[in-house]
């Protein structure tokens, strides 16, 4: 969230609550909305690192509010963000950790873990098929999001199959 907030502040100075509203408005209900506390904590850290500067603005009859600006250092951090590729393949897959570690402790059997996970993925897929059917055909972004989720699920299922061949 650090860099999303920084990007919004590079567009225009804002206070915490405005940032929360902007995120919700831009990404819609698809985006898991951050709580205001998380936003203030993040802004505090950004300020400590010199990427933003907070200025108290007096308000009549209300406590001061703090408006944040993006600094030159913040601008540089954003350039770096834009120029670097986003995160690649997951190597911290929670299910895989469970799959490898749980049998060592005797609390679960690999075959059962894999089978349960497969059914879970297929239930999600079934859900996505239904969402896709109900989503307006002209909403390209929503369909691309669904298609992306389906392709990820296909890869997850293929990987599960490999795990079953090799480990179970």
């Amino acid at each position: 969230m650090r860099l999303s907030l920084l990007a919004l502040l590079a567009k225009e100075p804002a206070h915490g609550y405005e940032l929360k509203q902007a995120l919700e408005q831009i990404f819609g209900s698809a985006y898991p909305s951050p709580n205001i506390g998380q936003i203030y904590v993040t802004l505090g850290r950004l300020e400590k690192d010199g990427l933003v500067r907070g200025v108290d603005v007096e308000q009549s009859n209300r406590p001061n509010k703090k408006v944040y600006y993006c600094t030159a250092a913040g601008r540089e951090a954003l350039d770096e963000w834009a120029e670097s590729p986003s995160e690649g393949p997951r190597v911290r897959d929670e299910f895989f950790m469970k799959l490898v570690l749980a049998p060592m402790t005797g609390i679960a059997d690999r075959m059962a873990l894999i089978n349960r996970q497969r059914r879970h993925y297929l239930a999600i897929m079934r859900d996505l098929v239904e969402v896709a059917e109900q989503t307006d055909q002209d909403n390209r972004a929503a369909h691309l999001l669904i298609e992306g989720a389906m392709l990820h699920l296909q890869a997850d299922l293929d990987w599960l199959e490999r795990c079953q061949e090799e480990l179970a």
Binding site: G28, R119, R126, V129, Q134, E161
Partner: protein, 255 residues
């Protein structure tokens, strides 16, 4: 085995009992299917998954009588089928089984329309009914303008869709399919998915080998094979009820 699972006592669409296939080609025997028990009820859509070499194709080929069993029983529509000879199986398939292969096996010197109508006519449909059914199926698969073409004039994806239409032509008791979307791009797969969903809702029983998660996502139940044995067999949870669908749901699902 409980009485409900006793073959022939109730009307499973298709059932395998301790089904075994051992290939003996040259040297060591290959145990492709090792004692599979599978009962598919009428109207069920069962996806068969598992790594390549796990026995999926061999299993559905045996269920359709296209590959002989080594031991065990096969029941189709309450009747013992594994004891049939070649021509007995041919009649049974004509009347009760539709089959879609990974490779299409269309009749080369017949038009697309005739390829699709043939099984319905052989199964005893009137010419008018066969034609209507063909028009519906080709329409759903976006192939209306290919009706008069010969299979050789079609792309791989088009031939595969024709093969699906043919398999569904006589509304078989059970549709057996082996990777029916293997040659399709994502747009054609959408047409196939829509048709499969539609015929399933109309009560079509489907047993389908697939790696495609979108196809498996249509099924009621998934059976997983590993080394010729069933290692998982269970229902896929029905979709959550939702009031307002949208992209937001997708992201929540990824959790």
């Amino acid at each position: 085995m409980s009485l409900a699972n006793e073959p022939g006592t109730t009307s499973a669409a298709v059932q395998a009992v301790n089904l075994v296939k051992v290939y003996q080609t040259g040297g060591l025997p290959v145990h492709a299917v090792r004692g599979v028990d599978l009962r598919v009820d009428r109207g069920e859509f069962v996806a068969i998954m598992g790594p390549s070499g796990s026995g999926k194709s061999t299993l559905v080929h045996m269920l359709g009588g296209l590959d002989s069993r080594t031991s065990g029983e096969i029941w189709v529509d309450g009747k013992r089928a594994d004891t049939l000879n070649e021509s007995g199986w041919a009649i049974l398939r004509r009347q009760k089984i539709g089959f879609v292969f990974q490779f299409f096996n269309l009749v080369a010197n017949m038009t697309v329309a005739d390829n699709v109508e043939l099984p319905a006519l052989l199964g005893g449909s009137s010419p008018r009914h066969a034609r209507e059914r063909r028009e519906y199926l080709l329409g759903e698969l976006g192939l209306v303008d290919k009706a008069d073409a010969s299979p050789a004039q079609l792309s791989g994806g088009e031939q595969q869709r024709v093969a699906l239409a043919r398999a569904l032509a006589n509304q078989p008791q059970v549709l057996l399919a082996d990777e029916p979307t293997g040659n399709l791009d994502s747009r054609n797969t959408k047409d196939v998915l829509r048709l499969l969903g539609q015929v399933h809702r109309q009560g079509q029983t489907i047993v389908m080998v697939t790696h495609d998660a979108r196809v498996a996502g249509l099924a009621d139940r998934v059976v997983t094979l590993l080394d010729g044995m069933i290692v998982d067999d269970g229902a896929i949870a029905p979709p959550r009820r939702r009031t307002k669908p949208g992209a937001g749901d997708v992201v929540e699902l990824r959790g």
